[in-house]
């Protein structure tokens, strides 16, 4: 029996006058193969010289894995059959690559499991009230509402840390959103091609600087500057304002480049229409272009917040050590953010399984959920409010 070994595209097979023939990928290949098959199966090669359009009318192409083998094996005519040779190496590589992809899923599972289990251990072991359920519930309640973080006294309320995180992030957004959006508008609407090609790399450099360098900048430049402006009595050496301002500079390129993408995606026709109605350039930008690109700008701002919340090195260096809750918030005194606390405590000699060790994972879990929600919100905003232009 004559056998034909063919290299076939595994995802495609051709249905010819209700008979499964073979899989293929290209029209030219189809023609060669059809000839062979027709020779061997006794079919008349009517459609072989057709155009690609003919193929669509006479031949159904379906995508289905492994269908070819099944179809050909069922061919009971007893004539020579075309079979796909097994490709064990190819299959092996496919699964190897899939295994690579699984690592990223395992990473997420690992994060969730590690944070979850250690946080659970934390909530079950602090302030034991006999009953596991009420202990966890009580601790969780204290964790989410408490305004004191004093591990020595068994007080684990996240608000001092959360407040500092919100303060630095707020400060950062105060800098990054207007400046980032302004830079984006300038780059996409005003700047000439040449100016843009010089200024964009500058922003990229700013985005590529390691955050610890920004921390150094905060402590050696921004803090002395603030102390010079507002006086040493008002501004402590470690303060959230300095950390927040520098963080804003760090996030600026992210917001600028994401917003610029959103603005350049707004079609030219909208601008032209606005000019046609007699609007000035600025009116066009503020009333047409920015509203049209708003979803992208919002998404950029949310990503910016998420980065500010998760940023560690700037706050670890410049914001201060020691959790402190203050109401109303004072930006000129030292406070410790969630990330800053994790960095400081884990930097020392921490014994595994201690309450301090576990409490870091509880903070980490809160941080993880917080940033995850922000990132999901950003994607939702992009998809939900995106204007589709032709």
């Amino acid at each position: 029996m004559k056998r034909y070994a063919l290299n076939l595209h595994p995802n495609t097979f051709v249905r010819y006058q209700n008979r499964n023939l073979f899989s293929l990928y290209q029209w030219s290949t189809l023609k060669c193969l059809l000839n062979i098959v027709c020779d061997n199966t006794g079919l008349t090669p009517i459609h072989i010289r057709g155009q690609k359009q003919d193929m669509a009318t006479t031949i159904e192409v379906k995508r289905k894995n492994g269908a070819i083998e099944a179809a050909l094996a069922n061919d009971a005519s007893g004539r020579p059959r075309i079979e796909k040779r097994g490709r064990p190496f190819d299959d092996f590589m496919r699964y190897l690559l899939l295994a690579c992809g699984t690592i990223s899923v395992l990473t997420t599972l690992g994060i969730v499991w590690v944070l979850g289990s250690e946080a659970l251990a934390f909530f079950t072991s602090v302030n034991d009230q006999g009953n596991v359920f009420s202990t966890v519930l009580g601790n969780l309640g204290n964790f989410l509402t408490g305004t004191q973080w004093q591990p020595g006294a068994g007080l684990f309320g996240i608000w001092p840390l959360l407040e500092a995180t919100l303060m630095t992030s707020f400060m950062a957004m105060l800098v990054a959103v207007p400046l980032g959006l302004g830079a984006a508008v300038y780059l996409s609407e005003y700047a000439s091609q040449r100016t843009r090609s010089t200024l964009k790399p500058v922003l990229e450099v700013l985005a590529g600087i390691p955050t610890v360098v920004y921390g150094y900048f905060a402590i050696t430049f921004m803090t002395p500057l603030l102390q010079g402006v507002f006086g040493r009595d008002t501004v402590q050496f470690y303060n959230t304002a300095s950390a927040g301002l520098v963080m804003g500079i760090m996030i600026l390129p992210t917001i600028a480049s994401m917003s610029e993408d959103a603005l350049t995606a707004v079609p030219r026709a909208l601008r032209e229409a606005s000019y046609g109605l007699g609007a000035t350039k600025f009116e066009t930008i503020s009333k047409v272009v920015i509203p049209a690109g708003l979803s992208g700008i919002l998404a950029a701002a949310i990503v910016g917040i998420s980065r500010a919340v998760g940023e560690t090195m700037i706050v670890a260096l410049a914001a201060g050590a020691g959790p402190r809750f203050s109401f109303p918030p004072d930006f000129f005194v030292a406070a410790e953010t969630m990330t800053g606390h994790i960095a400081r405590i884990s930097g020392g000699d921490l014994s595994y399984g201690s309450i301090d060790y576990q409490s870091l994972f509880a903070i980490g879990l809160a941080l993880f959920i917080f940033t995850l929600l922000l990132n999901m919100l950003s994607r939702y905003v992009t998809n939900r409010f995106r204007e589709a232009y032709q």
Partner: protein
């Protein structure tokens, strides 16, 4: 009458319109200035940041030696050979240098457990003459100690030990380059008039110099080097890429070439990668601490470069995957079709046609990931990078890296450490620059070989 009033109204309207137009344009002008100012502020921030760092790398420094070199040597230390340096150590150190032998060669704990053991057993990795090796620490004579020092230390090590332990060099204050240039009189005045600063010497000093790169860490800022951190960074980044590159590219190939996006697991991988890219780096640190440092301690030996590199690999995996996917997507379908038409299998097509065509983009993405990893500090702090590492790191030893040193030295309130932090920053930025230059060169070369 009626027409006249309409005409008059029209003129009035037109005047109003003209005046309004002027205002509208003026408002536009003002806002344009604001937009321009925004980007200029970004530019200004970058310049200030760079200047602020470079300004601290070079400048006047007041240094004082508690026991000047001239009191025990008539020649500068750089000119002395190994035996002369060892001689100085033995002559000047307390108890004839035996304390140094115990602390730096034997280890305090080791000695306390084996007081009577001969030195050849206690001191590992140093070849000693038989007669010296047979002695216990207490039996050591000065000439024996000198032999040990000559064998165990390099001249550079001994020079540093003399400066830190005998000379007691101390950085009293250091001034930035701009202060040194424009405020020289005040600096001279301060050095001359400060009561505690007797014997202080004022000198121009570049904190980033060759010996800074090659010497080990010490407790004195002016003599401290960044060698261990630089090697630690390079080792970590090398291992990170070795782990992350195949995993990342493999995932990207699967998602771009094999996945149809129909299966739920394929969609899960895709969504998951986007989410991982947004997870704060410190969370990866917690993951590394719990998994690599603690759970897999048997394999990674705890807080070592292996743990650090594995954590970093997970951290930069999304960056590599997303960029590699982008690069694979940019490969035209005709290349795949041509390969299939020639009878190549899927894997042959991917490996021999698609991957080479996408390689420039993949490498650029990988170097982006490397740039992120080499500057990343937070996860390594959580994993437990050390603050003080005197010896060259190995894969399974405790370690430090450049950004960790920047962090530690920035926090250090002692004089001179802020300056070596600045020098380390400049070094780190140079390494980053080299990475990016490599990326550009690689891209050019690959592009040429493809077009040829």
């Amino acid at each position: 009458m009626a027409t006249m009033s309409t005409a008059r109204e029209r003129v009035k309207d037109e005047a109003k319109f003209t005046a309004g137009l002027r205002n509208r344009h003026l408002r536009g002008q003002i806002w344009m200035r604001f937009f321009q100012a925004a980007i200029l502020l970004g530019l200004l921030a970058l310049i200030t940041l760079m200047f602020n760092v470079v300004n601290r790398v070079y400048g006047l420094t007041a240094v004082r030696d508690a026991v000047p070199v001239s009191t025990f040597s008539d020649r500068p230390l750089e000119e002395l050979n190994a035996s002369e340096l060892a001689g100085i150590l033995v002559a000047q150190l307390p108890s004839g240098g035996r304390v140094l032998v115990r602390d730096s060669l034997i280890g305090q704990e080791n000695y306390n457990n084996n007081r009577e053991a001969p030195l050849s057993q206690l001191i590992q990795g140093v070849t000693l003459p038989d007669d010296v090796g047979a002695l216990t620490l207490a039996q050591l004579q000065p000439e024996n100690t000198q032999v040990i020092f000559e064998n165990a230390f390099t001249p550079e090590d001994m020079r540093l030990t003399i400066i830190t332990d005998i000379v007691g060099r101390e950085v009293l204050e250091s001034w930035t380059w701009s202060e040194s240039l424009f405020n020289r009189a005040a600096i001279d005045e301060k050095v001359a008039s400060t009561a505690d600063w007797e014997g202080a010497q004022l000198e121009w000093r570049s904190w980033l110099n060759f010996s800074f790169l090659t010497s080990r860490m010490t407790t004195v800022a002016s003599e401290s080097g960044v060698r261990a951190a630089l090697l630690g960074s390079l080792l970590t980044i090398f291992l990170t890429v070795v782990v992350a590159f195949p995993l990342g590219v493999g995932t990207a190939i699967y998602l771009q070439e094999y996945s149809t996006g129909d299966h739920w697991f394929e969609r899960l991988i895709e969504t998951n990668i986007r989410n991982l890219a947004g997870v704060p780096s410190i969370i990866y640190g917690l993951l590394g601490l719990a998994i690599f440092v603690r759970a897999l301690e048997g394999i990674t030996q705890g807080r070592t470069i292996i743990s650090a590199a594995l954590t970093m690999a997970l951290l930069i995996l999304p960056v590599i995957i997303i960029n590699a996917q982008e690069a694979l997507r940019a490969v035209p379908p005709s290349i795949r079709e041509a390969s299939f038409g020639l009878g190549a299998t899927k894997w042959q097509t991917v490996f021999r046609s698609v991957l080479p065509a996408a390689m420039p983009g993949i490498l650029t993405g990988t170097i982006l990931g490397m740039s992120r990893a080499i500057g990343e500090t937070a996860p390594l702090i959580v994993i437990g990078a050390s603050t003080f590492i005197a010896n060259d790191p190995t894969l399974a030893s405790r370690f430090t890296v450049l950004p960790i040193q920047i962090y530690n030295w920035t926090k250090d309130p002692r004089e001179g450490f802020s300056e070596i932090a600045a020098a380390t920053i400049v070094l780190l930025l140079i390494v980053l620059l080299l990475f990016n230059a490599t990326a550009i060169i690689l891209r050019q070369r690959f592009r040429r070989s493809l077009s040829a």
